[in-house]
C-alpha cells in the first residue's frame, strides 16, 4: 500500500509555510525532502509526525487518514535533528522506550532492543548514559530507538547535520544500506543536495512552501524544470533566448550567442521566450571551432583549481558562463590560460529548456 498525503496549508496570515503540497511516497522507498532553510520541509515532516496539523488537506499513511491523529497513535517514528535522547535513561532504556510503551517486556523486549542496537552497531553501549556518548554514537542510538518500533514510515529530520564531514559520509552510506536491509519507508529532510543525491530513490525539491520538482536524482540533475532546481542541485549556466524553429528533433533557440540547437522543446511554439540551462561540466572547451555549430566564442576570465577539476569562468557575448574540465593527465596540454580565446561547444542533448524564465 502506498503512503499518500496531500494538503494545502496556510499558516500565519499572509505567509504560507506550505502551499498546495501533493506528494505520493511509495512504500519502501528512500524519499528526500530537499530545500533551503525556511522552505517548509521541516514543517512538512512535523505534519507527517503529527506534531503540527495542516490547516487544510489530509495526511494518509498506508491508506489510512491520519489527519488530526496525535503523534503517539501514528505508525511513524522520528529521528530528531537534536537526537532528543532521554538524558535520564540508559542507551538500552532509550531504545526500549517505544516498545515498553506498547506493553512489550521480558525476553521479547531484550531481544528486539538488542537486535536494533546490533543493527546500528551500538551493541556494547547499553548501560551508558547519552551524555557519555560521542555525536555519531548518539545518532545511532536515536536511529535504533526509532527503527526498533518497526514503523511504517521513518522520518529523519536532518539527522547528519551536526556531524563532521567524514562521519557524515560514513553514515550516509550506512543509512542507505540500512534502509535497503529493512525495506522501511524513509522520509529524509535535508538541505544538503549531495546528501540527497547520494542516498535517495526519489527527491522532492522544495522552495517557498512548494514542491518545485519531484523525481529521481538523475532526472532532477539532468533535466531540471525550473531555474531554482537547476541551481540548487549543482550549478547551471542559464542562457535566455527565443524559440526560432521547432522540429521533431527539438528546437532551435535564438540567443545572444546566436542560434542554439537543443533536443528538447519539440512541442513549443515559435517566438516563445525561454531559458536554456546547461551544466558546467557538459560544456566542451576547444581551441578551434570547426564543429557542427552550437558553438560560442568565449574568453577565459578566471581559473579556479579545485583538485579534481578546473573551473573556468568565461565571458561570452557579455554573459558569464562557467565550464568545468576534468583534471585528467591525459592531454595535459589542454589546460587553458587566462585571457585565452576559446570555443565552447554546447551539446544539444545537454541544453535543457526550463519551464519558467
Amino acid at each position: 500500500m502506498d503512503v499518500f498525503k496531500s494538503f494545502r496549508n496556510a499558516q500565519g496570515g499572509e505567509t504560507r509555510v506550505l502551499d498546495d503540497i501533493d506528494l505520493d511516497i511509495r512504500k519502501g522507498e528512500f524519499f528526500s525532502l530537499l530545500g533551503p532553510s525556511g522552505c517548509g520541509k521541516t514543517t512538512l515532516l512535523r505534519i507527517l509526525a503529527g506534531f503540527e496539523q495542516p490547516d487544510a488537506g489530509a495526511v494518509l499513511i498506508g491508506g489510512r487518514d491520519m489527519t488530526g491523529v496525535p503523534p503517539n497513535l501514528r505508525p511513524v517514528n522520528t529521528v530528531f535533528q537534536s537526537y532528543a535522547l532521554f538524558p535520564h535513561l540508559s542507551v538500552f532504556d532509550n531504545v526500549a522506550f517505544g516498545l515498553r510503551q506498547k506493553g512489550i517486556g521480558g525476553a521479547a523486549l531484550r531481544d528486539r532492543v538488542g537486535r536494533a542496537m546490533e543493527t546500528v552497531r551500538i551493541g556494547d553501549f547499553g548501560t551508558r548514559k547519552p551524555d557519555n556518548l560521542s555525536g555519531g554514537q548518539r545518532q545511532r542510538v536515536a536511529l535504533a530507538r526509532a527503527i526498533v518500533n518497526e514503523p511504517e514510515v521513518l522520518l529523519l529530520d536532518e539527522p547528519l547535520s551536526a556531524l563532521d564531514l567524514k562521519l557524515r559520509k560514513e553514515l550516509q552510506v550506512e543509512l542507505s544500506n540500512l534502509q535497503e536491509t529493512l525495506g522501511m519507508t524513509f522520509v529524509f529532510v535535508t538541505h544538503d543536495q549531495e546528501e540527497a543525491l547520494v542516498m535517495s530513490d526519489r527527491i522532492a525539491v522544495m522552495n517557498r512552501g512548494r514542491v518545485e520538482q519531484l523525481g529521481k536524482a538523475e532526472d532532477l540533475y539532468e533535466r531540471p524544470r525550473t531555474a531554482f532546481v537547476a541551481n540548487f542541485l549543482g550549478q547551471s549556466n542559464l542562457i535566455p533566448g527565443k524559440v526560432q524553429e521547432v522540429g521533431p528533433g527539438g528546437a532551435v533557440v535564438m540567443t545572444d550567442h546566436g542560434p542554439l540547437r537543443t533536443v528538447y522543446g519539440a512541442d513549443l511554439n515559435v517566438g516563445r521566450e525561454v531559458m536554456l540551462s546547461i551544466r558546467p561540466e557538459k560544456l566542451r572547451m576547444e581551441r578551434d571551432d570547426e564543429t557542427e555549430g552550437n558553438e560560442v566564442r568565449a574568453r577565459v576570465d578566471d581559473i579556479v583549481y579545485t583538485g579534481a577539476e578546473n573551473q573556468y569562468l568565461l565571458e561570452a557575448n557579455g554573459q558569464r558562463l562557467v565550464a568545468f574540465q576534468l583534471n585528467s593527465d591525459i592531454g595535459a596540454d589542454e589546460d587553458f590560460d587566462y585571457e585565452e580565446e576559446v570555443a565552447l561547444y554546447l551539446p544539444p542533448a545537454s541544453l535543457v529548456i526550463l519551464e519558467e524564465g
Binding site: 530528531f80 537534536s82 538524558p87
Partner: protein, 273 residues
C-alpha cells in the same frame, strides 16, 4: 599545588564571615549558658532545651509552624512546578513579563507583601460578609500568604533545572507512543524532579523562618515560631529563646544543604539555580 593567598585578603575574608556568623554563634553558645540572664557565662547546660519542650506555647508554635510549612510547601510545589514547566515549554511573547512577575515577590520588601496581604484578606472578608460567611486570620491566611512567595522560588528552580534540556524531548516521547500524560510522567517529571525537590526544600525553609508576612497575616490567636520568638524577646532575651532560635537555625541549615545536594549533579550542565 595551591596558591598562597595574600594575608590581608584572608584576614578580610575572616572578617566578613565573622560579621555574618558571629551573632549566630553567640546565640548558639548562650543557649547552653547556665544563667538566667544572657550577658555572663555561668557554665555549660542543656536545661534550656528541656524548659523549652515543657512550655505549652512553644509546643503549639512548633505544631503551627510545621503545619503551615508542610501544607504551604505542598501547594506551592505543585503550582510552582507547573509554572516552571510552562515557562520552559512555551515560547510566548509573555515569557519575559511572566518571569519578571515571578521575580517580583522575591525582591519586593516583606513589609509590603505583609501589608498588601492583610488588606487583601480584609477586602475578601468584607466581600464574603455580604453572603453571611466570614473567617478569622489564622492558619489559612498565613498558609496562603506563604504560598504566594513560595511559588516564585519553586517555579524558578524548576525552570533553571530544565533550562539545559531540549524541548523536543517531549515530542520524542510522544513520537514513541506516549500520551501527553505519559510523556510528562516518564520523561519531563523525572528530569525536573531534582529541581522540584530542591524548590520544595527552599520553600519549606522560607515558610519555616518567615516572620514579617506571618506577623501581618496571623491575627491574634495564631503564632508560629518566629512570631513567638519576637513576642518573647519583647519581654527580654531569655536563654530558652536562644535555644529555640538555635533549633530554627539548625533546621534551616539542614534543609538548605539538602536542597544544594539535590541540585548539584546538574552543576556541570549549567542548570544550577
Amino acid at each position: 599545588m595551591t596558591r598562597r593567598t595574600h594575608p590581608a585578603l584572608s584576614a578580610w575574608a575572616w572578617l566578613v564571615y565573622g560579621f555574618l556568623y558571629l551573632p549566630i554563634l553567640v546565640l548558639i553558645i548562650f543557649s547552653f549558658n547556665d544563667s538566667k540572664f544572657g550577658a555572663t557565662w555561668a557554665g555549660f547546660t542543656t536545661k534550656w532545651y528541656g524548659v523549652l519542650l515543657a512550655r505549652e506555647d512553644v509546643r503549639e508554635a512548633v505544631t503551627n509552624t510545621l503545619l503551615v510549612a508542610l501544607s504551604s510547601t505542598l501547594i506551592s510545589t505543585v503550582l510552582g512546578t507547573l509554572v516552571g514547566l510552562g515557562l520552559w515549554r512555551y515560547s510566548s511573547r509573555f515569557r519575559l513579563p511572566l518571569t519578571f512577575l515571578l521575580v517580583t515577590p522575591i525582591v519586593i520588601p516583606d513589609v509590603v507583601m505583609g501589608v498588601s496581604l492583610l488588606m487583601f484578606y480584609s477586602l475578601v472578608r468584607g466581600g464574603l460578609e455580604l453572603t453571611g460567611w466570614t473567617f478569622e486570620n489564622g492558619f489559612w491566611t498565613v498558609m496562603f500568604a506563604h504560598v504566594t512567595f513560595q511559588i516564585s522560588y519553586v517555579a524558578l528552580t524548576v525552570r533553571s533545572r530544565l533550562a539545559g534540556y531540549d524541548r523536543s524531548l517531549e515530542e520524542a516521547a510522544r513520537d514513541l507512543g506516549a500520551s501527553s500524560v505519559q510523556s510528562f510522567l516518564r520523561v519531563i517529571l523525572p528530569l525536573a524532579l531534582p529541581g522540584v525537590l530542591a524548590g520544595a526544600l527552599l520553600a519549606f525553609t522560607l515558610s519555616l523562618d518567615d516572620f514579617v508576612v506571618t506577623y501581618f497575616t496571623s491575627g491574634s490567636g495564631f503564632r508560629t515560631l518566629p512570631v513567638l520568638i519576637y513576642t518573647s524577646v519583647k519581654k527580654g532575651v531569655t536563654p530558652d529563646i536562644n535555644a529555640l532560635s538555635t533549633l530554627l537555625v539548625l533546621f534551616t541549615v539542614i534543609a538548605i544543604i539538602a536542597a544544594n545536594a539535590i541540585m548539584r549533579p546538574r552543576a556541570g550542565r549549567g542548570g544550577e539555580a
